[in-house]
């Protein structure tokens, strides 16, 4: 088949069943866009390439298939960087296709030349340049295979403009270009399963910590079954939220720096941690030397390099979470797992009761925790939440109960402000029938606010709930607790008026003054046909509590600000 390189890319994307691309065109991608023009792949025109990448990421996390974004060479490509880094830290499969200056000009500091392969190598699973049009089918196949297998992650494909224009005869079927990459079966090794079962059967106080890997491998069902079989409570990392419905009896909520009291206490008291698809990040463990000192650890992860990276484990299981859990489950059923009610579960329940009053809303003004509860009660279980970064994100994580996997989408590893709105747009494109709510901060929202234009142009009714505390709240909280209230440059002021701003985009803005007006605005937004932005006033002194100070053990929790 004779095609231009640009058409070959589009053909390859169709073969990968790509339905939508998020991007912004430019000089080096004009041929690619010309080929897109006559294809039936949907293109969502972002207003900033960072957002195009976050949109692809949000799309990928909701749909469980790679999201695709594109940018032109130079500034377009460098604008993608934050979005790619977010996807890398959270192991989200996105494909970034960038234009590049023509081959003859590479290395000459040509107009809009940037070494994007070099720049993104440390933040991608793989980044490479296509050096002839004949490679394109294999290159795109390779990109999708890399992004979506083993531990998932972003892949960048850089295509010089003259490669897009080159006419070539193409060879199909396409082949994986990289021989050294092995797609692992993900099956657990029987020996490690046996050892794990031994530990599980002899444990009196087992605790499961579920991470983003459970969601990435669609292992929720197996996880819940596993927890029920061994009667172990389940705490999650930030990325693991939604892996077990948070109203499930065995759910403990989030663990870590801003973990729920009962979850962190359970880590202290357990005698066996079964960590599934999580990487013992510092925000989860607190001071490592003090983490789970009295417990053994079983670590299930698809990435062998995660085993032993941060913490010593007793039984490593290098496997896909779904496969490992289902093997464990069937073995447990075979041996007739003994557990029903136990002392441990009673203890867990009493911990939940003990801490319940600590979360009670005190003082004047709208309380984030209460708002999160109202939101949960008003929207369907399948609704998707995205977040900004900062207090807003932690309030959502602590108090919004995620009930299904792939419904809590947040920048966990990188913590990139500005993620919420574009991720919500990507989520809505992935799942137009489900309500999408972006719980955001006033600082975070402004970092990518321009993409309200995208939501309006595309007719995507995403709802942003801006918790307007008029400060860079999370930084201010640290200043309050650890810098003697020296609030260096964290005051945003009452700017902008988000309602007016939203209206300028042709979307709907709502000022919230009370819990009642919040509730009715949320209910009304479920039927919205245009984006909605709610401005919710929060006191600048409101804190995210509990909190484990950085570098401290999970025990050293602060409950009062």
């Amino acid at each position: 088949m004779k095609l231009s390189g640009a058409k070959a890319i589009v053909e390859a994307l169709k073969r990968e069943k790509v339905e939508v691309i998020f991007g912004i065109p430019g000089g080096s991608t004009i041929p690619f866009y010309d080929a897109l023009y006559e294809s039936d792949i949907r293109h969502v025109l972002a207003r900033h390439e960072q957002c195009a990448a976050h949109m692809a990421d949000g799309y990928a996390r909701v749909k469980g298939v790679p999201g695709v974004c594109t940018a032109t060479s130079g500034p377009g490509a460098t604008n993608l960087v934050t979005g790619i880094a977010v996807a890398y830290m959270d192991s989200s499969p996105i494909i970034a296709i960038t234009g590049q200056v023509p081959r003859s000009m590479i290395g000459k500091d040509a107009f809009q030349e940037a070494d994007i392969v070099g720049i993104t190598t440390p933040i991608t699973k793989y980044a490479f340049q296509v050096t002839s049009a004949s490679q394109i089918p294999d290159a795109i196949r390779t990109a999708f295979l890399l992004a979506s297998t083993n531990r998932k992650g972003p892949v960048l494909v850089d295509v010089p403009k003259d490669v897009q224009l080159e006419e070539v005869d193409l060879d199909y079927p396409e082949k994986m270009m990289i021989k050294g990459y092995v797609v692992r079966s993900g099956d657990p090794h029987p020996y490690s399963i046996k050892k794990a079962l031994g530990l599980i059967m002899s444990s009196e106080r087992p605790l499961i910590i579920a991470g983003g890997g459970v969601i990435a491998s669609n292992a929720s069902e197996e996880l819940i079954k596993f927890a029920e079989l061994i009667m172990a409570p389940v705490a999650t990392t930030l990325m693991g939220k939604g892996s077990i419905p948070e109203n499930h009896l065995l759910s403990l909520g989030m663990v870590g720096m801003h973990g729920r009291g009962e979850a962190n206490k359970a880590v202290e008291e357990t005698d066996l941690i079964i960590a599934v698809g999580m990487r013992f990040g510092d925000r989860t463990t607190g001071k490592l030397d003090e983490f789970a000192r009295n417990s053994k650890i079983i670590h299930i992860d698809i990435d062998p390099a995660e085993i032993g990276k941060n913490i010593r484990v007793d039984v490593p299981i290098v496997a896909d979470a779904k496969k490992a859990l289902s093997v464990l489950n069937s073995k447990l059923i075979e041996v007739g797992s003994k557990r029903t009610e136990s002392e441990w579960i009673k203890r867990i329940n009493s911990l939940k009761e003990l801490f319940a009053s600590n979360y009670a809303e005190k003082g004047d003004g709208l309380k984030p925790s209460r708002l999160m509860k109202i939101l949960r009660d008003c929207i369907p279980a399948k609704s998707i939440i995205t977040t900004g970064v900062g207090q807003n994100q932690m309030w959502a994580a602590l108090h919004f109960k995620a009930l299904e996997p792939r419904t809590f989408i947040t920048s966990g590893g990188l913590g990139a402000m500005g993620f919420g709105l574009p991720a919500a747009i990507g989520a809505k494109v992935a799942s137009p029938d489900r309500p999408v709510f972006n719980i955001d901060g006033d600082g975070s929202f402004l970092m990518t606010e321009q993409d309200l234009a995208t939501a309006v142009s595309e007719g995507l009714p995403v709802v942003s709930i801006i918790l307007k505390n008029r400060v860079l709240g999370m930084v201010r909280q640290w200043q309050c607790l650890f810098c003697n209230r020296r609030y260096a440059h964290t005051d945003l002021g009452n700017v902008p008026d988000f309602v007016k701003l939203t209206e300028a985009y042709g979307a709907e803005g709502v000022k919230i003054e009370s819990y009642e007006s919040f509730e009715s605005a949320v209910k009304k937004s479920l039927k919205a046909e245009m984006p909605v932005v709610m401005e919710v006033p929060i006191s600048p002194d409101e804190k995210v509590l509990p909190m484990v100070p950085p570098g401290k053990g999970l025990k050293e929790v602060i409950w009062y600000g």
């Binding site: 392969v117 070099g118 190598t121 440390p122 699973k125 793989y126 490479f128 340049q129 050096t131 890399l146 531990r151 990289i178 021989k179 050294g180 990459y181 990435d303 062998p304 390099a305 085993i307 032993g308 990276k309």
Partner: protein, 163 residues
């Protein structure tokens, strides 16, 4: 000292990917070399690292995630042969000292590969230990210039690293 050998696909940018990862994850490598192998399209990277077992294990695991790396393993010094080449230019204007140097070269089984009125350039092949010992001796005479290749290594016996 730990020796790590990697077989990689010979593609532009592979060395960059390897060094980028080493830098990013904060590993310290002493030497790194790359060259062709018996198979077309496959290169061999040999590096030496200092650090405890867990550091080396983590480095190998992280490197093995680079898709271009086809095979990577640690070569235990006891189960492998390894060599380094050094070229040493030594100042030798004084005939008496010159003959001392030539004696040392014979003892260490090196070779003189260039000479001038004032200097000798020596080729020395061996383990890093041997080369270091030789360099210590040469310091007294004045080393004008030194170039070392870093280690290359093969496992002992008939097996190949790629198996």
């Amino acid at each position: 000292m730990h020796i790590i050998a990697a077989l990689v696909e010979d593609r532009p940018g592979v060395m960059f990917k390897v060094t980028s990862l080493i830098r990013r994850r904060g590993f310290n490598i002493d030497t790194i070399t790359v060259g062709s192998t018996e198979k077309e399209g496959v290169s061999r990277i040999t590096m030496t690292v200092r650090g405890d077992e867990s550091v080396v294990e983590q480095l190998v695991k992280q490197l093995s995630k680079i898709p271009d790396i086809m095979k990577i393993s640690e070569l235990k010094p006891s189960d492998s042969v390894y060599r380094e080449l050094a070229m040493i230019k030594v100042s030798a204007p004084d005939p008496a000292k010159r003959s001392d140097i030539l004696n040392y070269i014979t003892i260490f089984r090196g070779r003189v590969i260039d000479a001038s009125k004032d200097s000798l350039t020596i080729e020395m092949v061996g383990s890093p230990k041997k080369i270091n010992a030789f360099l210590d001796l040469m310091k007294g005479f004045g080393i004008v210039e030194l170039a070392r290749t870093g280690i290359v290594a093969l496992s002992r016996g008939s097996k190949s690293t790629s198996e």
